[in-house]
């Protein structure tokens, strides 16, 4: 059974914690009568506020025209429980099938964009295209996250990170404010570096 997450609204400036670690994501889009979902791994946070994300959606992809023409999408973040869907969605084209139906994904309406949210994903980021100046050259889109939804549990969902050639890394343990990272050690090192006599 795939999970169906209940979510709460998130401040859009805080979505960095979901994307910066580099998970593979599912991008949903719609334009006119058509809708689609694609697997995407090439993305980066660009700014906290406004909340900006940059990503590559190849012009070979069926979603490219829908995202460019509608100026909207939803970035859905799946856990490893959706591994089969992530790979399957990445291997076929929405030109021939409705991938939401094929992969039995539950959609629900977004609040500020027309592209659907995917309930089986633990976070959904509603995005508006704010800069298409590099779309022609690199298929690189800059989106503003205008609304964010995320499950409150688990705190650190297990994500998949793509390495190419069918290989994935699964997210591992979490280090929160590890004692090794203390400011004390840092300042001792800096002070040592500033005392050339002691280092001679």
């Amino acid at each position: 059974m795939k999970p169906l997450y209940e979510k709460v609204d998130l401040p859009v400036a805080s979505i960095r914690r979901y994307l910066e670690p580099g998970p593979i994501v599912l991008v949903s889009s719609t334009h006119g009568e058509r809708r689609n979902v694609m697997t995407m791994g090439w993305h980066t946070v660009i700014e906290f506020s406004p909340s900006l994300i940059g990503c590559v959606i190849s012009s070979n992809n069926h979603s490219f025209g829908m995202v460019r023409d509608s100026g909207e999408c939803v970035i859905n973040i799946p856990t490893s429980a959706l591994a089969e869907e992530i790979v399957g969605i990445g291997k076929c084209s929405g030109a021939w099938i409705d991938k939401f139906e094929t992969f039995k994904l539950t959609t629900e309406p977004a609040k500020l964009v027309k592209a659907p949210l995917i309930r089986e994903c633990f976070a959904n980021l509603e995005c508006r295209l704010v800069d298409d100046s590099l779309v022609g050259k690199y298929s690189f889109f800059v989106f503003e996250v205008v609304k964010a939804h995320a499950a409150t549990t688990p705190k650190y969902p297990e994500t998949l990170h793509y390495m190419g050639d069918g290989t994935f890394m699964v997210s591992g343990k979490i280090i929160e404010q590890h004692p090794k990272f203390s400011a004390g050690i840092l300042w001792r090192r800096i002070l040592n570096a500033l005392r050339p006599v002691q280092r001679a």
Copy 2:
């Protein structure tokens, strides 16, 4: 003891496997008499060939001017063995100290750029700035990887992935061509979706 990796040359089109999973990286740069290294988490692959990477280097960062003015940098990928250095480098400014000395990092000359390679990192990507059109607006640089070096072992080094607020995710297990991802399952689903009679 920090590792000192022996490396081989890599085809630049293959560096996606190192960056797409989203590790935190160390960016080294030099210009004139100055040099610096910074911690960076906001990056994405943009293209295989030419091998393009996009990343954000904030104008608040001491490295910003060096990278922009020299048009070069090296993206060094550390393992979790360098956790203390990753955090420490991210917390101080190269305006006051030489961070390579402070954090006892071993540099060696790059082949095609002037910025130094860091031997304690398992991969070093020599980069040239090829598009600065979004530098003014978002501090977003597009680099071409012109030379790549990587250790051959371990095959999957343990990397750190930043989530903000002092929290890191450590890379976990690797899934290579998992049987769940077989084309058979995928095609069965697609064929099922294409047979509306059976789905009624």
